[in-house]
Symmetry: C2
């Protein structure tokens, strides 16, 4: 996309009110955007398709949780401590910059301008490290390269800045500190016990949430790309950590060939993403398990389905240093934007392990418990696990009578008797019982021992005397036996796989991938799929005189009845200009009523990208449009069945 094409698209987005800076008449507020009618409709259609693709198709449950979040919840999740970026300020004019962004900008500029290959290489080396640097490393880099603010002034040291918006919840002295949620995920995590119950205690299951989250970005930029308030669609898939490779549905995605850019590849200079099937990726351990790979596949299918160009879509693995504090592994769906000349992270698919559930489970545990048991899942084992153990048990009546106050200490010591020594004791007891000719009947032990020869009795006593808690116990005071215990359940805190979608970024990419100019180089078109387009149909009349109000209204009523969202354009401009101004907001179909409509009930139906037109009864037109919105038909298949017509002279 040429630079001026990008400018044309940006103009279009503002002109036709897809979105605009919030509070624009007040000069705007950085990082805040409002969605106008077309933008809001596209977002809504995208979120509905996301719901179909993920929630409905995968039997997820969907929730809507509070955005206001008390301090202690985000303290548990690690956000109060770790959710920050480094910023530097111009020490003279006090302007603030995100340190990594500023450094990347300056280093890239120096590379472009440098004449020395050696220096270029050094700059390039540091540039690659910037996004992973901590505060001290950033400071060192600024000093090393003598970096100044864009206004030429010295920079302050890099300081971490927490990205959460804070507020007080409740009135006066009883107010508690809180934040606007930085992600929708925590609302799902804290509801895990209720959600597990809703799912009748079974794993795996997933909960989804669409909603707004907030990050007080130091340097918001690129409109919907880096906002302070942004729409997300998140899934938290809860599963058994031992079942991460047990994913029957993986079969449905395993043959997808996807461009994967692993952290290993990223470490190799000049290396690029590699295309492979998800099956290969799992087999070669590029992606660590099938659950993660499954969501990579589903995300790929979603992106391509809504209209993202698969050639400009890749999945990039996070390097160790860039991973969020909770992530074991993470793959970003990245979309290439020619306008930004870079890959834009649009979705993160993270293995958050049991991090969040464990933290919430620990913090909300009852006194004396390690975890809040509501966060622990118990599964029945296919076969019980049998543990065999030698136990030395006191004959309590005897021990009690003989040792009185010491009996308790003896009992405790026996309970804690080391496994290996107990085995030894069992061996000696068995040897001793052999002297008796086998284990005597209950109550007959003393008589049997007394019946032994003196030598044997000495030997017997030596074999069967054990020292416990400083006391000597003999054969009449304890029993030694092997016991079996069966375990029927296994307990664990679930692993969470989180596909998290940045909706504004996806819309940005989708608009760019959908935008083109007609061959005249002037007329702008958005090639949006019918189910994404803000309106499905524009309804036109050749003239209001030829098509009376009631005919027009009947058609509108039918469109509404079929839930086909449409607009009318009854202005007095040419039909060609009407097409142009609906093409540019992506409306796929135009239905035009004319004199013949009144007499024979037929209309013309025009498709946006081909600009072809067919003639058909209005009922058919509505039905076919509906089929095309529902993807049960294509324009190709529909238009083949009806006579094509020439557009009016002033139309195309």
């Amino acid at each position: 996309m040429a630079k001026d094409t990008r400018a044309t698209l940006e103009n279009l987005e503002l002109q036709r009110f897809f979105f605009c800076p919030s509070f624009e008449i007040y000069g705007g507020t950085a990082g805040l955007y409002d969605l106008g009618p077309s933008g809001a409709a596209i977002e809504r259609n995208l979120l509905n398709k996301w719901r179909d693709h993920f929630v409905i198709e995968e039997d997820m449950v969907e929730v809507r949780c509070s955005m206001l979040t008390p301090y202690k919840v985000l303290e548990s999740s690690g956000h109060t401590a770790k959710f920050s970026d480094f910023m530097v300020s111009d020490t003279v004019d006090k302007m603030l910059y995100r340190a990594d962004q500023l450094l990347e900008l300056v280093l890239q500029k120096r590379i472009d301008e440098s004449k020395s290959e050696e220096e270029k290489e050094k700059l390039h080396h540091d540039l690659k490290l910037v996004s992973d640097m901590n505060g001290e490393q950033l400071d060192a880099c600024i000093e090393k390269w003598g970096i100044k603010s864009p206004n030429g002034n010295p920079l302050s040291k890099a300081v971490p800045f927490n990205l959460m918006f804070n507020t007080m919840i409740g009135p006066g002295e009883r107010a508690i500190p809180g934040f606007l949620r930085p992600e929708t995920a925590q609302g799902i995590f804290v509801n895990f016990p209720r959600l597990l119950d809703f799912n009748r205690g079974k794993l795996p299951f997933a909960a989804a949430q669409q909603g707004v989250a907030y990050r007080n970005e130091i340097a918001p930029r690129n409109q919907l790309v880096r906002c302070r308030e942004f729409m997300m669609a998140e899934i938290e898939h809860f599963c058994d950590p031992l079942e991460l490779d047990n994913v029957p549905k993986f079969e449905t995605v395993k043959d997808l060939k996807i461009s994967l850019f692993s952290s290993a590849q990223q470490a190799i200079d000049g290396a690029e993403a590699v295309e492979m099937t998800l099956e290969e990726a799992v087999n070669n351990k590029v992606i660590c398990h099938k659950t993660l790979a499954y969501f990579v596949g589903r995300t790929y299918l979603f992106m391509v389905h809504i209209g993202i160009d698969p050639k400009r879509l890749r999945f990039r693995q996070h390097r160790d240093n860039e991973k969020a504090h909770y992530a074991r592994d993470c793959w970003d769906a990245e979309i290439y934007l020619e306008s930004m000349r870079s890959w834009l992270e649009c979705t993160g698919i993270a293995d958050r392990q049991a991090f969040d559930l464990t933290r919430h489970g620990q913090v909300t545990a009852k006194k004396g418990e390690q975890y809040n048991t509501q966060f622990v899942v118990n599964v029945t084992l296919p076969e019980p696990i049998v543990t065999v153990k030698v136990q030395i048990q006191p004959i309590k009546s005897v021990v009690g009578r003989l040792f009185k106050a010491d009996a308790k200490a003896i009992n405790t010591a026996l309970e804690e008797y080391p496994e290996a020594e107990a085995e030894e004791v069992l061996k000696r007891f068995t040897e001793a019982e052999a002297l008796l000719g086998g284990k005597p009947a209950k109550g007959k032990e003393k008589a049997a021992i007394d019946a032994l020869s003196e030598a044997d009795r000495a030997k017997f006593n030596e074999l069967t005397t054990i020292e416990v808690a400083g006391k000597k116990l003999d054969y009449t005071m304890v029993t030694v036996a092997k016991t079996e215990t069966k375990t029927n359940t296994r307990s664990f805190i679930p692993t969470v796989i989180e596909p998290s979608f940045g909706v504004g970024r996806i819309i940005t990419a989708l608009l760019e991938h959908s935008f083109y100019l007609r061959p005249d180089g002037q007329r702008r078109v958005l090639r949006l799929k019918p189910f994404i387009a803000p309106y499905s149909v524009v309804l036109l009349r050749i003239s209001a005189k030829l098509v009376p109000e009631n005919v027009h209204n009947d058609v509108r009523k039918e469109l509404r009845r079929h839930r086909i969202v449409h607009i009318c354009d009854d202005s007095s401009i040419t039909i060609g200009r009407k097409y142009a101004r609906t093409d540019e907001i992506g409306i796929p179909f135009a239905i035009t009523l004319d004199g013949d409509t009144v007499t024979d009930g037929t209309v013309t139906l025009r498709e946006r990208d081909t600009t072809n037109q067919i003639r058909l009864p209005i009922k058919d037109a509505i039905r076919e449009v509906k089929h095309m919105i529902n993807e049960e038909e294509t324009w190709e298949s529909v238009s083949a069945r009806y006579p094509s017509v020439q557009p009016p002279a002033d139309a195309e």
Copy 2:
């Protein structure tokens, strides 16, 4: 609804996770609620129906605006100054109370307990005034009745508490103060210029927005009824203040008979709401104009359509003292809740006049302008307004030459010459010209005057001499003539009619109006309409052995293809218990697969409220369910067409 029935419903709502206190495992946070799967689905369905009923049906535009709002915007709208409640605190334990709520509670209790009719009457008198009291009046009332805190301690003076959550937008020293929006309306108002442009400059038009708003309630209560974070659906209808009674669509609602409780009725002790048609209401000036009445009608239709009992729905006019700072008039849709034994405000329909647009227009005006012209609408008049004016104009060359430095003052005085006197001058000039035998040709004036007789010339000079700015001017120095000016446009700031829906409250009312127990007094049912129910269908199998996985999956695929949201219940409980647990979350239809399904493709379809079942091919079942969701069929019409079947013995 009996008290224990209410308790049963509340149990159900929590048990089946319609909603729960947010951050429940952390002890909850007052005023914040999360919607679980069923609650979120009901809300979504309700919002979609709202969109159909208002946005689509009325060709509104829909937007999604930022929730973070800078201080200056809410300063313009009056919220920083006026958006507050009075609170009092217990001077000992520091507990906080909303003053009006506490007083109402205490006064009602005293009324219930008082033995003196005279005292009862006095208490009752004050009770009625509480909600309209200012701080001083509240203090006086507390003193008069010796009211203490619920814990028996003295109360502080009433102090206003602003209900907006505040935060800082942006990092460090460059941060600006902001709030979480207290209503979604302002986002629409500040975008008025773009929205007007999107609508090609035409009025009336309406913009709608669904979204969350925030009020830092002093005393949140009754779950979704008074929350700190709550879902709204708002419409801002912009119209010409002279066209408020020009509403062609009023015809479609004028005959609706609606229960109206005007402020005049409320002033009469013991008076109640009166049923009347909207036409009567407008004709009798009960409702001030047709635009407001139209939205009362549309709101009534919406409420009844979604399942609110019309007998428990009324519209109450705000009394003068309770109106918001921006409102000229306001009617609340109130729904009666037996559980609360009171009417609950669920929707406000306010005439906000031009208040907000005027304020934003003033604050953002360019220097030297009264308003930001983007907020001013110009309409073409059907016929231009012609203004006729007598103008006395100096013949500048003559006046300049004769009066030199005084010429400017003369010119100014002539411009400001009083209308009535100018008319008089014209009359005298015409009389004088008659002496000349009509107006002389240009340049011939002097000659014509000189030709008069002395007496006539004296008379002529007397008639045509005027004194301006202390100087005497004669016929040769000025022209006097009638001029016509035409005005083609009229300029104004639009009036805004705002129907504003509290979604959580409507859901609360809807659940109560939909809840009942089966005759056994045990089994709980939610009589939700199919398009509101969280799931449309529960899919059951008599046994997994009889109905293989692929048959089951094919049915599920078909349901999904038709976008019929369903759940499966394959647990091992009886089918009767399965019905019971789907009835109680309002699922209207059960489709059961059995052995015959595999051989002949038929299933049983059960309806929730009748518990009747019919046998029909699976394809028909899906089609009929879809028709019933879309309200193109009813269970009555569908079940008449298929054989009914007896439920299994353990089913009902």
